[in-house]
Symmetry: C2
Subunit: 178 residues, 2 copies
Amino acid sequence: MGHKHSKAEILAGALATAFDDGLSQVTFGRIAKRLGISDRIVVYYFPTKDDLIGEVLYAIGAELQATLAPTFSKPVANHHELLRTTWPILARPEADPVFALFFEAGGLAAAGREPFRTLVPQLVDAWIEWTAELMRGTPAHQRAEAEAGIAVLDGLLLLRQLSGSEVADRAARRIWAG
Amino acid sequence: MGHKHSKAEILAGALATAFDDGLSQVTFGRIAKRLGISDRIVVYYFPTKDDLIGEVLYAIGAELQATLAPTFSKPVANHHELLRTTWPILARPEADPVFALFFEAGGLAAAGREPFRTLVPQLVDAWIEWTAELMRGTPAHQRAEAEAGIAVLDGLLLLRQLSGSEVADRAARRIWAG
DNA sequence: CAACATTTGTAGTGATCACTGCGAAACCAT
DNA sequence: ATGGTTTCGCAGTGATCACTACAAATGTTG
């Protein structure tokens, strides 16, 4: 198979564009310009924009999971324990860009924009399921505690994005205390 | 002063466009088409897009505050009490559209897009300050409890937007219980 | 009414968007 | 080499974007 350009290379360019300029700036033209190729090739491998965004979202999900993987290793009893053990890892500057993308995707999903509207909830659900597996107890307990943990984590991480790390850390300490 | 069209009328059209199609669809042309006027008039009253979006965000902030006002009436001791009293009011279908817009703005802010990047944190801070006034205790306690309450509320409301009301309510119940 | 400022219509700017038609390479198996 | 498929350059489509020049209409004020 002849290939000067590969699909993986273009997807990497798309991800780089997303991290640099945001998801809403991931366009055929911008990716092509960044890679110094014709936008025709980008369209060739990703026939529609939804295909492109879909694969970018999937890759971001994988990136997010890779970010979380080292943290989510040993089982916990409830969402409080989850939060206390994961927050120090998640609230690091290196993790901020991927969460920024996640919240942008979440916002576009909340606004009803396709394909975010359909894909982001799936991503969140996968995250919940994955978290639930680390919980001890009955399946219902696992699921509910995972949902609670994700909710509080999302709120804290969003506050971190919008108001900075000091505010978010202070809020986290209050939540642990309560 | 002669005026067939008023600035308030155009701003109302902009808000309607935002609620219907999302913040990212608030453009000069779409507002003009919705109102059946020339986009020239829209540009006349809002010389740049940042002016337009800025005023739309301000109006959404006012709308959000109006949504919260009846709830945030009597003082509370800490963020737990705040959550328990406000959640039943906030987790109503009528409140969802304005929160959808808030999360879209938050996502664009997280992505670094102006003017969201500068305006949304101000909006969040105003919301925190406003919530802090309802807290009992020292100023530091007020502020920290308000931040914690906002964080958890945001997380739950975002989960509600992305995963639906059942999931969010279940998570809320777990957080109260904990 | 005359002088003036505010408001609005018509038209157009150059940019970017997602996406396409078409033909020429480049690659492959036979 | 020959034929067929995959890849890709070039050019262009119509749409939308923020924004502007210019002049006519519409006010307001003296």
